[in-house]
């Protein structure tokens, strides 16, 4: 026990495939019309994960910052796109703002954890940096898109209210701060909710993975605590960052709200 992970063979994977086939048969029998989509989804799952498996194997083997950094850049770019694509409204430059925010918040938290908490040497050890960055990006992009969505919705729908405040002598910051605060709050809700119930309702994937891989539960728990705090920190930074950048674009030096920049998707 605890001697390390039991290696899976392709036969084992084939057996697991049987489980998806069961789902497909159920769909066909009940005419749910999901069989095709399920097949596509199962195929994509297998192919995407296999590809990433080979990429990671290659990146781990080369173990060089010159490979790690472009991989990180690519991950952040994809996350930035996803963050903006999930919002119901945009403004020119939203993608850039999301990207800048993700770069700052994800790198700051990833390297705080690898350097100050775990103490990874060398700093570019991909085995630590890539999974941590991946988790951070996944969570902070959710936070950022929720925050941006709330912020743009309120700036465009409450234009009258904000202009009323401006008209009474409010600075742009005074007129915007309620909206900014609520938007950051909206972005933070998912991570706070999951911190509330972690371990009670579900075991997080990372922790489950460590336990399956044969690590002692308490060590897995310690890692998970670090991860949850890291995700909370990254999400908070990400939400605040994107809210401030959007604020800078949507209000000008004349303390005007430029609601016309916001477009519905």
């Amino acid at each position: 026990m605890g001697a390390g992970p039991i290696e899976l063979s392709y036969v084992d994977l084939a057996v697991a495939t049987g489980l998806v086939v069961v789902a497909g048969v159920v769909s066909l029998a009940l005419q749910l019309g999901l069989a095709r989509r399920l097949a596509v989804a199962a195929t994509r799952t297998a192919i995407q994960l296999l590809i990433i498996g080979y990429v990671l194997k290659w990146v781990f083997k080369i173990d060089s910052p010159w490979v790690l950094l472009p991989v990180m850049g690519f991950m952040i770019f994809v996350a930035g796109r996803a963050a903006v694509e999930r919002t119901g409204r945009r403004y020119p430059g939203a993608m850039g703002d999301a990207f800048v925010t993700l770069v700052l918040c994800s790198l700051l938290t990833t390297f705080t954890v690898t350097e100050a908490v775990i103490g990874v040497t060398p700093w570019y050890t991909p085995q630590y940096v890539i999974p941590l960055l991946g988790m951070i990006l996944g969570n902070s992009l959710t936070g950022i898109s929720l925050c941006l969505d709330a912020l743009l919705e309120r700036f465009s729908e409450q234009q009258g209210l904000i202009e009323m405040e401006l008209a009474h002598g409010a600075t742009r910051w005074e007129a915007a701060r309620d909206v900014l605060r609520d938007a950051v709050r909206r972005g933070m809700i998912p991570i706070i909710n999951s911190m509330m119930v972690v371990g009670l309702v579900s075991l997080p994937g990372m922790m489950t993975g460590q336990i399956l891989a044969g690590n002692p539960p308490l060590q897995a728990v310690q890692y998970q605590i670090v991860v949850m705090f890291m995700l909370a920190g990254a999400t908070a930074l990400g939400c605040i960052g994107v809210a401030l950048l959007a604020y800078r674009r949507l209000f000008n030096a004349k303390h005007q709200l430029r609601a016309e920049l916001i477009s519905k998707v």
Binding site: L161, E165, L166, A167, H168, G169, T171, E174, K254, H255
Partner: protein, 227 residues
């Protein structure tokens, strides 16, 4: 006496050659007006001709495409836009209140950095009464009031702040005759004390004639096909 003349030389509010556009189309060009202390000036023009856009530009909520605005001889950029707007206060036609009590709505602008005076509950209640609202309504949720009541709460909020110039956009559009008369009388009285001037935009020529000492007709400033 000399000082008096100096004050008279610089009008409270002066606009020259103002042009505004909406949606890429020029609506009004060459608008000019000069408002002295205590004056109530009416601006008339047909519905949809760009009066509201003009008024928003006068408060700097949107950029005019040309022209100059001065408050007591100063350009808004020089004094800072928030300070300028607290002095040249724009009141939109559609009443806009926060989802809080009337009192909190009235207090709100006093929390801004540029507010020059403190909130006075006594004056707030007096003004509410003057425009035909009940003193006790100050406790009510502002959004539970009717549109006409909200319009008057907004006017009281603006007056409390003590601006030098009020830019009023159809300020009595949702009021019945009695409350409309009360609002007109209140503005006239405030102006008569010399602490307030007003620029009133209205489609109602009769109201302007009754209320305002002077009328500026927008007709010569309207761009053809701009309505």
């Amino acid at each position: 006496m000399q000082q008096q003349q100096a004050v008279n030389k610089t009008p409270t509010f002066r606009v020259d050659g103002l042009a505004v556009a909406a949606g890429g189309r020029t609506l009004i060009t060459g608008f000019a007006v000069q408002i002295e202390v205590g004056e109530v000036v009416g601006v008339t023009g047909p519905s949809g001709c760009g009066k509201s856009t003009l008024l928003r530009a006068l408060a700097g909520l949107i950029d005019p495409i040309a022209g100059e605005i001065r408050f007591c001889g100063q350009r808004p950029e020089e004094m800072g836009w928030p300070l300028f707007r607290a002095q040249v206060l724009h009141l939109s036609q559609r009443p806009t209140v926060l989802a809080r009590s009337v009192r909190e709505n009235l207090r709100r602008p006093f929390g801004y950095r540029h507010a020059r005076r403190a909130y006075s509950e006594g004056r707030a209640r007096t003004l509410l009464e003057r425009v035909g609202l009940d003193r006790s309504q100050i406790e009510q949720a502002a959004r539970s009031l009717s549109v006409g009541e909200q319009q008057r709460v907004c006017l009281v909020r603006a007056l409390l702040l003590g601006p030098a110039v009020l830019l009023l956009d159809e300020p009595t559009s949702a009021l019945d005759q009695e409350t409309r008369d009360a609002v007109e009388a209140l503005i006239r009285e405030e102006a008569a004390t010399g602490n307030l001037s007003a620029l009133v935009v209205s489609h109602d020529r009769a109201q302007v004639g009754r209320w305002c000492g002077r009328e500026v007709d927008l007709a010569p400033c309207l761009v053809k096909g701009g309505g």
